[in-house]
Amino acid sequence: MIDPLYLEGVIKILFVFVLISAALIISTRSLASVLNTYTVQSFLLAAVSFLLYLIDGKSELLLLAGLTLASKVLLIPHFINRIEEKIKIRRDLDFTYLEPTTSLLLSIGLILLSYTFLSRVFGDLALSRLFFFGAVIGLSLTLMGMLVMFSRKKVITKALGYLSMENGVLMLGIFVTELPFILEVLIVIDLIILVLLTSILAVGLDSSIEEYRAKIRKLQIWNGGEAL
């Protein structure tokens, strides 16, 4: 059995990495690297939940770690890869409204904001430092994901932004309270569906109508299937 304090230290380090990954998603230009960063982020998340499981042996956390690993580290990135191959985009160069540097500055602001906000809101909730910190990271991660959504042009990148938002939500979930596992599953399902949909649409958006019809015909079965 490892010393929890030590683990907490590790977790804190992971937090920092999570933030860095978010910053990378905001700023890097190459789609592939964005995707990889996202994968790393999800992996970090999984790791965090695993460590938490080590601290207080709640089986949900372990399951969660597994789920995250399965869905976000393996399935979704793989799928998006395929999409990226379909549509020949490698880079997402142009930013709207915000240049990377400014958006990085802004994201620092976001972290501060979510800190103050949560500290006001959780005033009488007495979370431990670690957990509170986690919540803050989660919220700011969500906001940063949104920032990605509007500052990047390509739909794929937006989708990734959305995904990282969702990571943030999950993180908050982990740290604020232990959600029933079913919730996690649900949100992940939802996630997968949305990713599918958006990416299909993305494919459609940058391909002429005709071939798009062909594509969507391939995909429509999924669509119905997934939604069930």
Binding site: L125, T177, L179, I187, D190, L201, L205, I209, G224, A227
Partner: protein, 495 residues
Amino acid sequence: MIRFYLLAMGAFLALDLLPKSHRLMNALASGNALLHLALTCTALLTLDLPVRYGPSLYLDHLNLYVELITVLGFCAAAPYAKGYTESLMEEGELDPKNLKLFYLAFNLLLVTATAALFSDNLALFWIFAELTTVCAAVLVVILSARENIDAGLKYVFIVSGAMLFAFLGLIFLFTLSARALGEGTLSWTELMENASSFSPALLLASFAFVFIGFGAKAGIAPFHTWLPDAYARAPSVSAILSGLMQNLGIYGILRTYALLRVSDSAPQASFILIAAGLFSIALAAFSMLQQRNLKRLIAFSSVEHMGLLLIGIGIGTPIALFWALFYMLVHVLVKEALLFAAGILHRQYGSNMREDMRDVFKLQPRAAWTLILGSIAIVGMPPFPLFPAKFFILLESAEVSPYLTLAVLLLLILAAAAFSNFLLKAFSRVTEEGEGEHGKEPGYRKKSFQDPYVVRAGMRIPTVFMLALALLLGLWFPEPLKVLLEAIVLELGYV
């Protein structure tokens, strides 16, 4: 229980995959809608509400009422859809192969909406709401033309993005309940029972987040931006159906606000609601003035009405709530009539733009009059029932501040002016004899506008029916409805 329902529906949908003929598919769709209608009515009549079945199925007056509204919308939309999609396919705008997908999504939307409404568990509600978003998006992109996809993307991104915040709100709620009860829960009923013991601060925060999510679903400014594009670019039917989903958002907000009423943070919450409502009304009213596109106009007007609904909820007096609920129903009726008529005009002229409309009274007199009467109704003029609803909501709003009332009134004038302006400009264009060929306008490249587009009965009847129903409600307020609404008001803990 809800699982059984889902199973049944799953079977139904599987069935839906089989048929080949359009007629059969449509029959299935309308059958489904009617089935739901029947179920709802029987539930309303027979059960002594509220009741719970199993862990997660919860029936009370409120969700049955909302379900009733939604299903009404579907029942009207189903026959309309037939005629509309047919003409779409004639035009070659809709790929016949997508037809099945269309109906799949149609039924699926209904099912998910129902499931969302009746699930007692907030999380389930949330996920099903998400699924409705997905289905609606599929309906929007059904033409798989570029701008449809664009609209669909906006819809998905904005709404789901906001919905994530709603999920944050749920997490907060869960935490609260965990703190209060030791064992966390997300079931409406349990939350309602001991909402009083929650910490107001966190409750308010969760409300704010939930509000973001469902506000986006309901098309509250500034999350409304998906709405006009979806309305304007999607085929009318899809517009209608995605419009119906707005009530889902309102429903969520209503319930969450009901949670807050017992705690100390009610005033802040109602402040948020009223502010958002006023903002929506203002934004919508101002942007309506510039619209040359009929469907966009209608879209903005539903943003405006959502704003008014929010105010009605936010005031927090029983009367206001009562009329706000009534408002929900009537708004759906009138709005559908308007959209139906707009769809007919779109078939006629191949465009929603005001410039392309010409000789409306000669070509589509019925649609024209439906539009006129519908606009009269939608701007809240008697004898249509939006008028008393408006009056009483404003009456209660004077409680908050007369200036609020004045502001709303003036903004409503703008909206009314926008409608009248549009109709005047669109309908008064008459071609005298000997006026030259109008080859330029896109509307006439599609059809020579001398010959009227034959409106199928399936499209005409629902249009007239909705309007007639609205008018009837304006002239006579049925007693059962009154009882139902009062029951809802009581259930939500308004006294």
